[in-house]
Symmetry: C2
Subunit: 414 residues, 2 copies
């Protein structure tokens, strides 16, 4: 079955806001076996909303609206869908009562405009909203001779998600022909997209029934595999087979086979090895620590570290000899190694990681250009240093450098 | 004039990718005085693309397509727009030659599918793409009796932006009736959205000719003001007037009046006061340092700091007495103050900032629940500590805590 998603709200047509509900809804619809063929954003304008609803009902089996269910004059989704379908709206006394109670509970008198939130499309089922005032609505039936499902959901993401999970998913499942969908994700660090594709395209192209998508981020490639089959087992077997073959080809460049982040994987390995980590970072300015500690429970293996932006602090907090900085410069192989070793010693951790480089956009020289980064990992078996010249802006260079350091820690533990 | 944006590509209909080009294009179009009334995402499907193009041409003066201009079978924007407009496509020998040269320069022979990137709509102007192989196209004229502008742009954001700036903006400016648009942004830290709106709505509602949008993020509220007027000066005066009145009301809660980030503002103040900063953070795990150093040039005022996840490191790197941690717990007013004072002393900085708290989702107790954070700023005039109980998940709590600490530093310097 085909689905489409219409996000309603003039604020989504400004340069400041983007509709992200559709990513969640797409994931949910795909899992149920429905394909999203169209997404659109329409402002708070009755005439345009009606036209958009009509186009959508013409081409898609399932049409989901998000937003425009609030109490203000600008909230027009109910009215527009009613007009597009040629249906009336009826004020629901139960909803109205609950709205009034909600306000009374806060000691407020409900302003009259709120009453429109109780307007329900003829024949629609009301979907209670546990997290807000505006309920959703579900309508299914024949429109213009075609079987259609229309769902109205509130715009705030936490309301939309909770409502979808509680009220919509099961109803959709009963309507969408059962599709046994299986997915797998492989994640790869520090290889280029074309490099990865050249190696794995000959493999995934053999699996014409599996849908393969390659997504490239800063320092990370994701390979998404998806297929449908007559049974769940058959679908899972197909994606596992192609993922397995791709993993064999890419070997230890694949850091995750079940959706985990690199930070999580580093955490798993540290715990598995009963090891601890401390870091000393210069050009990445705390991003390495931040990424490691973004994982809940990271205090079990991450002790902490030093952000040593000034040369004095490289000496004071990470024990890098001042004369080494003097001789080789702060951005050097030697200082990277000394940062990793110094912070390891200082924190008495199993592993120490150090990063020093030029994140730019200023501070580059002919000899040490923007993007030059030295990464080091120290352990009782010695210190490894890797030098890279990263492309891109400050943000990208910092992201790449921290991914490199995390991947070095991962490989050291494997 | 009305504009709409169509993003082309099946990958934009997956749960993993979102169209962000439209934010940039909207900003550009708004600046030129055109309003975006519709955005949509269509997959790589000729029939659906043709229908989408027809709907768009029917309702909007300017239709901008992004993506679908590459060499693969899935790249169908040229073909679909030609069909929707009833125009032919002609292979342009100059573009073809440049494509072949581009491949030859890399020592490759051009695969035949690349030739389709040289196909140009009848009557269209070719827009050279300095950063990729697929050129853009510009077409203006009467379609179905209506004056229309159709622009085809490549999908990769850096190609699209460079091409828009070099080739499209001026041409659009000549076509769009001059609109004198002025905008202002005020940013506010650590106040709630409803709190801000309650105070400023009575002000901005008086300016019915100014469009006011309030955007709320974690710990930051942005107030966007926008208006058009017969002259640039008149427009600017109107937004400055409402922004000024709102700023008077919110007073020093407004940290930025010209779009700067809180991190930048803290940097400005530190430089203005000829002051330096060092930080010691526990539950925020490096995020405070990361935010400060995300600003290029921050090495002028940020010395560095310590990420003291373990209690031992709170003592070792930031000089917090072990017995203080023992007595009051790591998450306490006393330890926050000691972190700020200790790191200031250790780094010999003008100001020291300290954060300790419970970021969750685990580790909370009845006495010290998830979200409890102590923030401290130490200077030669003493140490200030602020306690907060933040709502939300780990990511949000960490964001709020670092915003609070940055805002404390700002207020200390004001």
């Amino acid at each position: 079955m085909n689905a489409e998603i219409i996000a309603v709200g003039s604020e989504l047509l400004t340069p400041y806001r983007i509709d992200t509900n559709s990513l969640y809804l797409t994931e949910q619809l795909n899992q149920l076996g429905a394909e999203v063929i169209f997404k659109s954003v329409v402002g708070d304008n009755q005439r345009r909303l009606v036209a958009a609803a009509q186009h959508a009902l013409h081409r898609s089996d399932i049409v989901i609206f998000s937003g425009g269910l609030g109490p203000t004059e600008d909230d027009l989704t109910r009215e527009a869908v009613a007009e597009a379908l040629g249906l009336g709206l009826k004020r629901d006394p139960d909803i109205l009562k609950r709205l009034e109670e909600r306000f009374a509970a806060r000691g407020w008198k409900m302003a009259s405009n709120n009453a429109k939130q109780a307007d329900v499309l003829e024949g629609a089922t009301v979907l209670p909203n546990a997290n807000g005032t505006a309920p959703g609505q579900w309508l299914s039936g024949k429109f213009d001779g075609r079987e259609r499902i229309v769902v109205l959901l509130p715009g705030p993401p936490h309301e939309l998600k909770a409502l979808f999970e509680a009220e919509v998913r099961q109803q959709l499942q009963a309507k969408v022909p059962p599709a046994f969908l299986a997915t797998r994700v492989l994640k790869v660090a520090m290889l280029g997209e074309s490099q990865v594709d050249a190696r794995v395209a000959p493999i995934y192209k053999r699996y014409t029934d599996v849908d393969t998508t390659i997504l490239a981020g800063a320092g990370e490639i994701q390979l998404h595999f998806k297929t449908c089959a007559p049974t769940q087992e058959a679908a899972q077997q197909r994606v596992d087979e192609v993922a397995g073959a791709v993993e064999d080809e890419l070997d230890d460049a694949v850091f995750s086979g079940a959706g985990e982040s690199l930070e999580q994987i580093v955490g798993y390995w540290l715990q598995m090895r009963n090891a601890t980590l401390a870091v000393a970072e210069s050009c990445t300015g705390g991003l390495l620590s931040e990424r490691i500690t973004s994982v809940s429970g990271s205090s079990r293996y991450f002790l902490g570290g030093a952000v040593v932006y000034s040369n004095e602090l490289k000496t004071e907090l990470a024990g890098v000899p001042a004369e080494m900085i003097e001789r080789h410069g702060a951005v050097s192989r030697e200082v990277a190694a000394a940062l990793a070793e110094g912070i390891r010693y200082r924190c008495e951790s199993t592993l120490g990681a150090g990063i020093t480089g030029v994140a730019g956009p200023n501070g580059g020289t002919a000899e040490k250009p923007v993007g030059l980064v030295f990464h080091a990992v120290a352990s009782d078996s010695g210190t490894e240093v890797i030098q890279r010249n990263f492309p891109g802006d400050r943000k990208r260079i910092r992201q790449l450098a921290t991914t490199m350091a995390l991947d070095m820690v991962r490989r050291k533990l494997m």
